[in-house]
Each structure stands twice: as C-alpha cells, then as structure tokens.
C-alpha cells in the first residue's frame, strides 16, 4: 500500500540542542503509531513540525506522494493534519457545536453542518452533551469535542499528545475505543505517550525516540516491553548496573537514623476526578537523600506541594518527625524547618522584581534573624545576603541588584542557598538542576549532599535520572501518581527503572 505520510531526514535544532536528528518515517492510512520517549526526546517537537508550529531545518514531508510545506497550523488543517494538545483550545462559554464550527465561514455552519456533527458522533460512538457550555463538561467530553473539531475538518492524520494523561481512570477505556474506531475508518493516528500498557493496547507500531533520534520503529505485538523500555532509556546492554558501586562513597546506613518524614497513604484527587496522587507511602530518615524518579507529570510536583503545604491531600497523613503536619499551613511548615526548592524558580521560588537580598528573606521575613524587634532590619538582611552571596559565589556579587539581573544558574543558587539555610529537618528539592550547566549542577549536588550530611533529610525530585541515581541513597519511582517501586541505585539497572516509570497501575497492585 502506498504510504500516506512520508517523512524524510527531518532535522531541527534549537540553539545548541539538536531536537530532531535525521527523523525518517513511513506511515499508512488506518494505522496507529505510538511515539514513545523520555522528556525532551523530541516527541512533541516532531508533532509540532508535522502541524506547522515549527519549520524543520532540513528534510521533507510528503503526503500521498507529493511534497508539502506545512507553514502553519492552518496549513496543516488544509492538508488534513490535526493535533489534539494536552491543553485543549476550546471556548468554555460556548457549546460543543459552536466550538466545533468556530472560525468556519457562515455557509458551512448551517443545519447540514449540525447534522454532520451528530452523524460523526454516532459513527464514533462519542457521547457529547450538546446543550451545555464546554466549561461545564468533564475532561473526557471536552477531549471528544476537540477530536470532533478535528474530524469535522476532515483530517486524515490526527496527532494525540499524551491524550490519556488528563483523563480520569474511568474515561480512558472509552477514549481508546474511540481512537480504535478512528483508525478503523482509515485515519492515521499518532499517539504520543509514555504508558506502555496503553501503547500495547492501541498501537500497531511504536516509534521510540531518544535525544531527538528515532531509536526504532517496531511492531508492538512482537516487541517485548523490556525492549521498548531499554530503547527508550538508551541502554542496549540491559544487564549493566546503572552505576558502578565502587565510584560511590559509602552511604550511611539510613535505616538506623531517626525517621524525619513519614508520608502514609496520601492521595490527591483533582476536581476533575483525575487521581494525581494515589496511596503514596514514603519514609525518609534524617541525613538520607531519597530520590524520586519518574517521567514529568506523574505526580512528583504535587507530592512536593502536598508535603510543603501548597496543596492539601484528599486523604492520608504526613508526619514530620513525630509531629503530624497534614493540616498545618504553609507558614507553620516553614517555621517547622522545611526547606523547599520549587520546580519553577521564576514563578515561585523568586520574586524577580525584588533585590537579591530581599529574595533571601522573603520566604520567612518575620523570622528573628531578619528582624530587629518587631521591625524588619534591612541591615540584617543585607548582612545575611552578603554572606550567602560569598559562600555560594553568586554573581554578580551585588545583593542590591534585582534578582532578574542574574543568570538562571545564579538565581537557582539564591533559592538553594536560602532553603538550605532554612531547612532544619527536611529539604524538598524539585528539578534543582534543570537548565544548569555541568559546573552549576555539580555545585548544587554538592550543597545538597552537605546539607544531608548535617542530618537533614532530603527529598530529591527530578526527571533527570542520572542525577537522581548519582545523588540518592534510595530512589522511589513514581508513575501515574503512585510509588511503583523503591530501589537502591547500586543494585538496579536503568531498564528496571524504565519499567517502573512506565508501569501501569494494575501491574503495581
């Protein structure tokens, strides 16, 4: 059969980063191709090139044997290529019909169009409530409206970007059913995902990407999950341990130390019904570094927020030492000596319009060391900031400058220095090395090790697996809001971790 889509040697670079390297692909009608890969493997970049959000640096795309240039998402729609993003582009105040017909000329919006929408719904067994505005629909129904929007525009290629990640567990099976119908009518569906069990269920072939390269396009039925996982993690020799034990210093025997943090049976359910955290159990000892590995968006950020008080869990308890803190406010937890390096330092960890010295103080401004009597001591703040700027070699070394004047690495140092100095019992760090160069990464890691040595328990959450394995005493792997396993870095392989990271909830139970 003549391929519908032919992608030849697509390349795309962003600055120094090669996001797509010589990507080739042949795909036919009526096929479902899963795209599997870690964060930053190039999955979304490839999709963006196909729908015209990015222009490739080189290479070409052929549709039905003729070369096409997808210069914009509108052009993509003209060529019959549509994409459903993780974040829907629907107008909340409008009904499903109005959303589907949005932007079309008047003559295409009449009764015939409305009849066709209902026909499409019937064809694909989509349940859509046509009487209510989209804002009051459940996520699954919104997603169906998005898909109908694409189908109404006669797409022959549909790209779904992690479509099940936003769905409640009960919505997944009907959704996959719908996709299957789409494929049966001759649509070519790309299914971007990192959930191996779903890929197994829905896809004909799986395209595995790593660092912008296609590691393989394999038939799903005949490829074992372990092979997919190994290709995704970039490890061909599956038996090699993740780390050579002799390169690692002797770790302290953490089980003997006092328990610093006990998270028991913590669950978090979003208002949409999606289960973000599910029965999470964790124990963290004083002086221990516990890594949390997992693919982005599997509940790690929310776990950090539940522990530090930014979000409140739906059920379960959290003990800091012997003290129950589940109901404490953020301020109370700050006072209890919990340090927190949040993922988004610009939006959360720093106030860019304040000076560097004020950034050292803002998280606990009422604390004695920043005060003189009941008033803020600007002099004390300057002194503390100057010391930290010297100790952490923050540049430029003028603490009166606005935080926005500093580079990302130096900004991260401010957050880290502040939280390390504040953490007496527990330090929670999320993606502390994101966007840092090798030297800065090393520095951050050293500081975290030092604070652990001083007896503070550290929860190290990161999607950069090498860093997690390098620094942690133990590593807990999260997938779909659950802890799918706890391993020690010395005795585990990347492949094991890859399987845990993509394990479906059923396998864990």
């Amino acid at each position: 059969m003549e391929p519908l889509l032919k992608v030849t040697s697509i390349e795309k670079t962003f600055g120094d980063v090669r996001a797509l390297v010589n990507v080739n692909l042949l795909a036919s009608r009526g096929e479902c191709i899963a795209i599997l890969g870690e964060n930053g493997a190039g999955k979304t970049t490839l999709a963006s090139v196909l729908i015209g959000l990015y222009q490739p640096d080189s290479g070409q795309i052929e549709l039905d044997g003729t070369q096409i240039f997808v210069t914009s998402p509108a052009a993509a729609i003209r060529h019959g290529i549509g994409m459903i993003h993780q974040h829907f582009s629907l107008v909340g105040a409008m009904t499903a019909e109005e959303n589907i017909l949005i932007g079309l000329p008047g003559e295409k919006r009449g009764t015939a169009a409305r009849a066709r929408i209902r026909q499409l719904c019937d064809d694909f067994d989509f349940t859509v409530d046509f009487d209510v505005p989209v804002a009051s629909m459940a996520v699954g129904m919104k997603q169906r409206v998005e898909i109908l929007k694409a189908l109404f525009r006669d797409v022959s290629i549909l790209i779904l970007d992690e479509p099940t990640s936003v769905l409640a567990p009960t919505e997944v099976a009907p959704f996959l059913q719908g996709v299957r119908k789409l494929v049966a009518t001759g649509c070519l569906v790309f299914f971007i995902s990192h959930k191996l069990d779903e890929i197994r269920e829905i896809a004909d072939r799986v395209m595995i990407m790593r660092h912008g390269c296609v590691e393989g396009i394999l038939p799903v039925a005949s490829t074992p999950m372990t092979q997919m996982s190994a290709l995704m993690m970039g490890q061909t020799d599956a038996d090699q341990p993740a780390e050579k034990p002799n390169t690692k210093e002797m770790r302290l025997d953490s089980t003997r130390a006092a328990k610093a943090l006990v998270v028991s049976d913590v669950s978090l359910t979003a208002s949409s019904g999606a289960e973000i955290l599910k029965e999470v159990d964790l124990t963290l000892h004083a002086g221990e570094i516990l890594g949390i590995a997992g693919i982005d968006g599997n509940g790690q950020t929310e776990l950090s927020e539940v522990i530090t008080g930014l979000k409140t869990q739906t059920s379960g308890t959290i003990l800091l030492g012997d003290k129950e803190i589940s109901g404490s406010s953020i301020a109370a937890r700050i006072a209890d000596g919990i340090g927190f390096v949040p993922e988004d330092r610009h939006a959360e960890g720093l106030v860019l319009s304040l000076s560097v010295e004020e950034n050292f103080a803002f998280r606990s401004i009422g604390e004695g060391k920043f005060m003189s009597g009941r008033l803020i001591s600007r002099r004390a703040i300057s002194k503390i900031a100057e010391d930290a700027v010297t100790a952490y070699d923050i540049r430029p070394s003028n603490p009166k400058l606005n935080a926005s004047a500093l580079s990302g690495g130096n900004q991260q140092k401010i957050v880290l220095a502040r939280e390390v100095s504040r953490a007496r019992n527990l330090l929670v760090v999320v993606q502390p090395t994101k966007g840092l160069d090798v030297g800065a990464t090393q520095f951050v890691q050293d500081q975290i090790r030092a604070v652990a040595q001083s007896g503070v328990a550290v929860l190290y959450i990161s999607t950069e697996l090498e860093h997690v394995l390098e620094i942690s005493d133990r590593v807990a792997v999260m997938a779909f809001g659950r802890i799918t396993g706890v391993v020690t870095p010395q005795n585990t392989t990347l492949q094991d971790i890859g399987l845990l990271m993509t394990a479906s909830p059923e396998e864990v139970v």
Binding site: G309, L310, S329, I330, A331, A332, R333, I334, F340, P342, D344, A347, E348, G349, L350, V351, L352, S353, L354, S355, F362, R363, S364, I365, G366, M371, R374, L375, I376, R378, L401, N402, S404, A405
Partner: protein, 361 residues
C-alpha cells in the same frame, strides 16, 4: 525593575505628556512655554494659588494612597470616588449626630466613622475579588455610581438642611472643623494628615512583615503563597486599607473645606487618585509630590485660561496623557521593546544604565 528605573521612566512619561500638551496649546494658537509658566507660577509660587493647590491636593493624596496600597497587593481599586462619598456620608452623619464632643475626641471619631464607611464600601469588591474571583475593576467602578447617588439621596432627603436651596446637609459644629494652615485661605490641615499617612504607609510597607508580605502578593502571588502568605486575606486587607484612606478623604472634604455634605461634593478626586498613584510609581512616599503636581495642574488651569486664553480643558487632556504615558512606561518590559521612540526616550535618555547594558547583552 528597581524603583530608580521606575521613577526615571515616570519622569520621562511626564515630560512626554507635557510636550504633547504643549503642541496642543501651540495648535490652539498660543505659546506653550508662556502657558505652562503662568500655570505653574500660579499654582506653586502664588500664595492664593498655592493654597488652592493644597486644598485640591489633600483629597487627591489620600485617594492616591487608596489606589497605591491595593495596587501593591495586585488589586486595582477604581472605587476611590465611591469610597470618598460613603466616607463623607458616614463622617457627616457622625458629626451631626454627636455635635457636642471636644475637638480632640470628635475629629478623630469623625475620621474613624469616615474610615469605616470607606472600608465598608471597599469590603464588598474585596470579598468578591478574593473569594469569588470577580473583577474588582468593574465592581469598584460601578459601586462609585451607587455611592454618589446614595449621597445625593441622603442630602436631598434625610440630611437636607432646613430651608436649603439645593441639596446639602446642615453645617458641622465649629469645633470639628480642621485648622487652616495658610492664614486667610482655605488651605486646611488635610494635606498634613495625608502626608503623615504617606509616611506611615511607606514605613509599613518597607519595615514590617505584614507590609512586606502585602507587597509580595502584588509582585508575585505564587511566590507569596510559597512563602506562606494568605493571598485572599492580603487582598482583602489591602482593599480595606484603601477604602479607609479614601473614606477619610471624604471626611476631610466635609470638615476641612465645605463644612457640609453636598451632593456631588467630590470632583472626581477618586479618579485623580489613580493618576497620583501611577505618577508616584506606587511609592507612597512619592505620592505627596505627585498629588501636589496634579493638584497644581488643575488649580492653575483656570488662571491659564484667564491669562492666556488657553482652554482649561487642555489640562484635562494633559492629565489623561499622563495616565497613558505613565502606564505605558510602567508596563513596558525592560528588554523586549521594539519601538525606537520608546527605546530612545525612555531607555536611552532616562533609563537606568543597567537596564541598557542588559539590552546590549
């Protein structure tokens, strides 16, 4: 953006507004330098003119602070005008109901009553904003009209003075009237009170944890939450403070200037407060200066019209231009400006050196 950069940008914006206004005067067939000279000479260097400036500056200053404090918490209080009216009403009602107290007790209580009135009027949009997510700009703006009409009703009905030819209340007791700071003029102590408030608020924002945290919410609400600050309570607190300040401005108009509650007694001072606040780059300590400047513009406009023949509405245009230019200067991102004019005038000539360096890099 540090405060030095902000002040420089504001100064540049001000100059641009006056320049454009100057062209308008020129097109009107007059010499702009002459016109501005007459205007500023009259408002600031002439005894009677300056007293007039002070009279206008005192409600403008308090109304400006009533915008600054909520704005520092990220909430836009357009409702100063309504809060002035309700504050004036509460203050007058108290003053008329309890006419026999000594001044040291009565005047503070009138201020308190007015502050309660303004606070109450600001509490409604504050609650709606914090707990219902309702846009405070719309609610505060619309509540202004309600407040104005409530006062009109009050002075035309229950508070109407006996035999009054048009709607106003009885006079407040002489003991309650604010002292005059410039002899034989109308210039009362209201501006001094505003000045004290500006100092207190500046100090509060800079040197107390609660003030610092209010500012934090406006700068970065997520970071404030991360620092354990309750955003909703802070928003409400900021709006209530704003409402009380505007409410006291209403009392000052009554016991400082007119000694009665008139209908339509505030001549848009609540809205002037927005200009004062922006001109001051939201810094309370600068607000007295910007209130004086704006009051001077409006006090001198009449003289300019009489002496030179320039229509005083030109000054209203200048006030409007000040808002536009200052708002543009404050929101312009530091290094994404594409406009050559903006780079040249705001970045190049008046910008902070650091901000320029960053642009080159």
């Amino acid at each position: 953006m540090n405060s030095v950069t902000m002040q420089c940008r504001v100064a540049a914006a001000l100059l641009m507004a006056l320049t454009v206004g100057g062209f308008l005067i020129l097109f009107d067939g007059h010499n702009p330098f002459e016109a501005y000279k007459v205007l500023f000479f009259d408002s600031f260097l002439n005894y009677w003119g300056f007293s007039n400036t002070l009279v206008k500056a005192s409600p403008m200053l308090l109304a400006g602070l009533a915008v600054i404090i909520p704005m520092r918490a990220g909430v836009f209080n357009i409702g100063g005008e309504g809060q002035i009216y309700i504050g004036g009403l509460f203050g007058t009602v108290f003053a008329l109901a309890v006419p026999d107290l000594p001044a040291v007790l009565g005047v503070p209580l009138i201020f308190l009553a007015a502050a309660i009135g303004g606070t109450f009027w600001a509490a409604i949009p504050a609650y709606l904003k914090a707990y219902r997510g309702t846009n405070e700009v719309i609610v505060t703006l619309l509540m202004n009209f309600v407040a104005i009409h409530i006062v009109s009703y009050a002075v035309a009905g229950p508070l109407l003075a006996e035999g009054a030819p048009y709607p106003y209340s009885d006079e407040v007791a002489e003991a309650y009237r604010l002292p005059i700071v410039m002899p034989r003029s109308d210039a009362h102590a209201g501006f001094v009170f505003g000045l004290a408030m500006a100092l207190i608020l500046y100090f509060w924002l800079r040197f107390t944890p609660s003030g610092f945290q209010l500012d934090l919410v406006g700068r970065n609400a997520r970071a404030a939450a991360y620092a354990g600050v309750d955003e909703k309570k802070t928003i409400i607190r900021a709006m209530l403070i704003g409402g009380s300040l505007a409410g006291m401005a209403g009392a000052i108009e009554v016991i400082g200037l007119k000694y009665r509650l008139f209908h339509l007694f505030s001549d848009g001072y609540g809205y002037d407060g927005i200009v004062v606040a922006f001109l001051a780059a939201l810094n309370p300590i600068v607000a007295p200066l910007t209130a004086l400047f704006l009051a001077g513009l409006s006090a001198g406009a009449g003289t300019m019209q009489r002496a030179i023949g320039v229509d005083s509405s030109v000054i209203e245009v200048v006030e409007g231009l000040v808002v536009v230019f200052v708002a543009a200067a404050l929101v312009a991102p530091r290094n994404s400006s594409k406009s050559i004019l903006k780079n040249l005038l705001i970045g190049g000539l008046f910008g902070h050196p650091k901000h320029n360096k960053k642009k080159e890099a």
